[in-house]
Each structure stands twice: as structure tokens, then as C-alpha cells.
């Protein structure tokens, strides 16, 4: 079997692990270097989730998506940096230090798939896998100026993805252009009975930028409070170009946006508090002290092994699910989540896709945001797609202050092809 030489100058700290002689075989991705986010299991290759609690862990099996990459001949050249367990919007919450944004190394690349985005944007790899729980593919794609797709929930197997919030997250493709994102999507959508939340719905599609007659809904709330007017204006220009290409623009409302962010954070922290209970230092990671009691050993492992944000989210979720508070937080969050789904259902009766900015601002400066709540608020435009499970893509649509701005396009359930086509049209509009 042939191998691909990979010894990059990783000046942006995009990788946690690099592999110098990755194997490649025949297939549609033959000889192509592909990076994989470090929360996706790779047999024989350390997988850390950017956490000290997984120090030394080497998965005994491949995630389904990794099996699919290998089947198509891809050379898996490294595991990329991320916010610990996917919890963050900047890739600063990593036990391996922050990743820098190749568009401006004094800025964050976005997160949590910031390492994958930086590896692609800097040209170290042609494509990468990210994961998106509340925007973690689309945010770094927007901040670094690349294309990233969060597929419809249930289209790509999560088998082998180290779980953070199961009901929200999807693995998805990231690349410098829509064509490569589409190619990678074809490879990733082979059905896997080991993830019972997937259905057999293979993506077989060539991006088609012809959007004549397509109805694009633009919710007012995506241009509301907190959205930088300069970013809003770049995105509006892109939407106007789509109109010039034959699309029909329909302004609309999405009232559930008022609750979406709170619903998202209650849901994801609740799921995280359950999922991350498995990290106890017994089966992998730093070893438990078996002379002490379970609770003493467990608490010490987790205080030292998890970063501050991960501990905060586990505690928030534990609180939201605890007796006496369940009705106030978790039950209400699920009702709000239903309203988000109903808003999408209602809008999709009259429009084909929904568009707006991916992020309310351009990339933050490193260290600029330290307060957890203000960090959470920057996810306001990306979380609705995860709550509803609809496909959503971020595609570069221009710059503000010299930094990349992403257009976000959300589509109907299992019509990822539509958002790819609109992204292709946007790409054509930007380059012409």
C-alpha cells in the first residue's frame, strides 16, 4: 500500500497528532490528505478530545466515518485540535493550547472544530472532518473563510464519535470549496446500522449553482440585536447576489429564536452531564487510585482531567436535570425546541431554504472573550439548525475588516443537496 508524506509546518497549532506516513489506497479520495477532528475514534491513533482525561487513550476501533474514508483511499494525516469535548466557540479551550486563525493569527479560528478549519484554510490538507453540536463546523468555517456543512441529523453515522450531546451533534465535511464538501459528503453518507439514529439516505449529488425560482427565506431575527451591522451588510449583499442569480428572497420571522439559545444550552449540558460520566480513569486515561474509595478517586480524576468549561457544563447539566429543577429547565427547553422545529416546518411550507449570517461577528481576537455567557451568546445563529436537526452550511461570502464572513444556508430535513446548491451559487457570485 502506498503512503503519503505529511510533515507540515504546523504554525497555527491545528493538529494534536500528525502521521508522517499515512496509508492511501485506490478510491475517490485516493492520495488526498484528510484531517480528522480529535473526538472521532481512529484505531491505533491517539484520540484525546483535546482533554487531559483521555491522555494515552488509543481507540481499539475506527469510527464509521473513518472506515468510509479509508475505503475510498483517503490518507488520514492527522487529528485536529478542538475545544475540549467540543465545548467552545474558539478552540481556546484545548489542553493542547489554542489554534490560530490562518486568516489572521492574532485571532481565534472559531470552534470547536477550529483545528480542522485551520488545517484546511492554510492548505495543509484539502479536506477535513469536523463535528457540529451547536455550530462547531459552521463557526470555524465562517471565521477561517472555508466551507463547512452540518448534515441533516441522521444522515451521517455517529458510531465512534465520542459523544457530547447525542441529540444535537453530527459529523460533517469541511473544505475550501463546495465541490470538495460535496465529494466528502458522498463518502460519509453510507448507512450504518450501528448508529440507530441514522437512516439509509445516501447523498449522490453534483453541486448545481442554478437557483432560478428557488425561494430563500430570510428571518429578521438573523439580523437582530448582537449582529455586527458590517457583517450583516456583507451577508445582505450576498443574498442580493443570489436574487440577481434568479432566486426569490422572502423576508420572514422566526419567533422561537428568542428561546433557542437557552434551550440549546440546557439540552447540551444535560446530555453532557450524562455522556461524560464515563470518564472515570478506570478503563482508559489517567489511572484511578484503587486504594481510595470510588467517589474520592473519581472526583480527583475529573477535577484534574477536565478543563474549567467542561466541568462547568457537566455541573450545569446535572443541576438542570436535578429533582425540583427538571420542570423549570429541561422540560421547558424541550418545549422551546419543539417551537424551533415548528418554526422551520412553517417556513418550509413557503420557502426552500433559509439564509442569514453564520456568526454575528468576524473572528474574535485571541483571549478577547473570557466570560462564558457572552461566549454562549455568539452561537445564537447556529444552534437553531441543531435543535431542529436540519442541514446547514456556511460558505464564504465576503470580508469585513479584512476578515472572512460566512453566509449560512439552512435546508429542509434530508435535503442537504439544496443547501449545497445555494452554497455553490454563492461561491460563483463571490468569484465572479
Amino acid at each position: 500500500m502506498a503512503s503519503v508524506t505529511f510533515s507540515p509546518d504546523d504554525r497555527y497549532n491545528a493538529f494534536i497528532t500528525t502521521l508522517s506516513g499515512a496509508e492511501t489506497g485506490p478510491g475517490r479520495l485516493s492520495g488526498i490528505p484528510v484531517a480528522v477532528k480529535d473526538n472521532i475514534s481512529t484505531r491505533g491513533i491517539p484520540t484525546t478530545c483535546a482533554s487531559r482525561i483521555l491522555t494515552g487513550y488509543i481507540p481499539p476501533y475506527d469510527a464509521h466515518v473513518v472506515t468510509l474514508l479509508k475505503r475510498e483511499g483517503a490518507a488520514i494525516v492527522g487529528k485536529t485540535n478542538m475545544d475540549e469535548f467540543g465545548m467552545g466557540t474558539t478552540t481556546e479551550n484545548s489542553a493542547f493550547g489554542p489554534t490560530l486563525n490562518p486568516a489572521d493569527p492574532t485571532r481565534v479560528p472559531g470552534g470547536s472544530s477550529g483545528g480542522s478549519a485551520a488545517a484546511v484554510a492554510s492548505g495543509m490538507v484539502r479536506m477535513a472532518l469536523g463535528t457540529d453540536t451547536g455550530g462547531s463546523i459552521r463557526c470555524p468555517a465562517a471565521f477561517c473563510g472555508i466551507v463547512g456543512l452540518k448534515p441533516t441529523y441522521g444522515r451521517v453515522s455517529r458510531y465512534g464519535l465520542i459523544a457530547y450531546a447525542n441529540s444535537l451533534e453530527q459529523i460533517g465535511p469541511m473544505a475550501r470549496n463546495v465541490e470538495d464538501v460535496s465529494l466528502l459528503m458522498e463518502v460519509l453518507t453510507i448507512h450504518d446500522p450501528r448508529d440507530s439514529t441514522t437512516i439509509a439516505c445516501p447523498y449522490r449529488h453534483t453541486p448545481d449553482p442554478t437557483i432560478r425560482g428557488l425561494k430563500i427565506g430570510v428571518p429578521e431575527e438573523f439580523f437582530g440585536e448582537g449582529v455586527d451591522p458590517r457583517v450583516a451588510s456583507v451577508v445582505w449583499e450576498a443574498i442580493t447576489r443570489l436574487e440577481a442569480q434568479g432566486a426569490e428572497i422572502v423576508t420572514c420571522r422566526m419567533p422561537s429564536m428568542a428561546f433557542a439559545l437557552a434551550a440549546y444550552y440546557v439540552t447540551c449540558t444535560s446530555e453532557a452531564s450524562s455522556n461524560l460520566a464515563r470518564f472515570d480513569g478506570v478503563r482508559y486515561g489517567p489511572q484511578a487510585d484503587t486504594r481510595r474509595t470510588w467517589h474520592e478517586s473519581f472526583q480527583e480524576q475529573r477535577r484534574e482531567g477536565f478543563g474549567t468549561e467542561v466541568r462547568r457544563r457537566i455541573m450545569l447539566g446535572t443541576f438542570a436535570l436535578s429533582s425540583g429543577y427538571y420542570g423549570k429547565y429541561y422540560a421547558k427547553a424541550q418545549a422551546a425546541r419543539q417551537q424551533v422545529r415548528n418554526d422551520f416546518l412553517r417556513l418550509f411550507r413557503t420557502v426552500d431554504v433559509i439564509a442569514g449570517p453564520t456568526m454575528p461577528t468576524v473572528a474574535f481576537r485571541l483571549g478577547e472573550k473570557t466570560d462564558p455567557l457572552s461566549m454562549y451568546l455568539s452561537d445564537v445563529l447556529t444552534v437553531p439548525a441543531n435543535l431542529a436537526g436540519v442541514p446547514a452550511i456556511s460558505v464564504p461570502c465576503g470580508t469585513s475588516e479584512g476578515l472572512p464572513v460566512g453566509l449560512q444556508v439552512m435546508g429542509q430535513w434530508f435535503r442537504d443537496e439544496n443547501v449545497i446548491d445555494v452554497a455553490a451559487a454563492c461561491e460563483q457570485g463571490v468569484s465572479s
Binding site: G56, Y57, I58, P60, Y61, P193, S196, I199, A258, F259, A262, A263, Y265, V266, S273, A277, V282, R283, Y284, G285, Q287, A288, D289, T290, R291, R292, T293, W294, H295, E296, S297, F298, Q299, Q301, R302, R303, E304, R311, R312, I314, M315, L316, T318, F319, A320, S322, K328, Y329, K332, A335, A336, Q338, Q339, R341, N342, L345, D371, P372, L373, Y376
Partner: protein
């Protein structure tokens, strides 16, 4: 408003381990975030989903599991093919 003793209790429930020095910082941030979550009080319970859902079943077939030695390879503390764990009490 939740207090430091509440955060200490949650940390105990979650087995997260928290030091006295960390309590005031965590409690302050917790209250800011929970204040924001209060917006959910305005959500009206809408009842059933408008979306049609269908269960998907599969046959319960026996498939090979991972070899025991590979699974135990990630612990330094295996004994007779089992994981050694701390005392429960």
C-alpha cells in the same frame, strides 16, 4: 439565586471535584447563566409535535464484539481479564 453550598452539592452529585477556592467563581458564573435561562419561563408548552415520527426497528442479531485484550490495552490496571476499580465504599 443559587449559593456556594448549592454548587458544592451539584459538584458532589456530578463527582466533578471542586476546591473551596473555585466555589465563588463557579457560583458567580452559574448565576449569570441561570439568569439567562429564565427566559425559558416564558415558553408555553405546546403539546404534541407537528412532525410525523416513525420508529425504525432492526433484527437483534449477534455480531462479534471487540477482543478482550484490545479493550484492556488502555488500562494499566487489569487483573485476570478484568478492570481493577476503586473501592465502592
Amino acid at each position: 439565586m443559587i449559593e456556594e453550598k448549592d454548587v458544592e452539592h451539584i459538584a458532589m452529585l456530578a463527582d466533578i471535584g471542586i476546591t473551596k477556592e473555585e466555589l465563588s467563581e463557579f457560583t458567580g458564573k452559574f448565576n449569570e447563566i441561570l439568569d439567562y435561562f429564565d427566559i425559558l419561563d416564558q415558553v408555553e408548552e405546546t403539546g404534541a409535535s407537528e412532525q410525523e415520527l416513525a420508529n425504525i426497528f432492526r433484527e437483534d442479531e449477534i455480531v462479534p464484539s471487540l477482543p478482550r485484550d484490545e479493550v484492556l490495552a488502555n488500562t494499566r490496571d487489569a487483573e485476570d481479564g478484568f478492570f481493577r476499580a476503586p473501592r465502592v465504599m
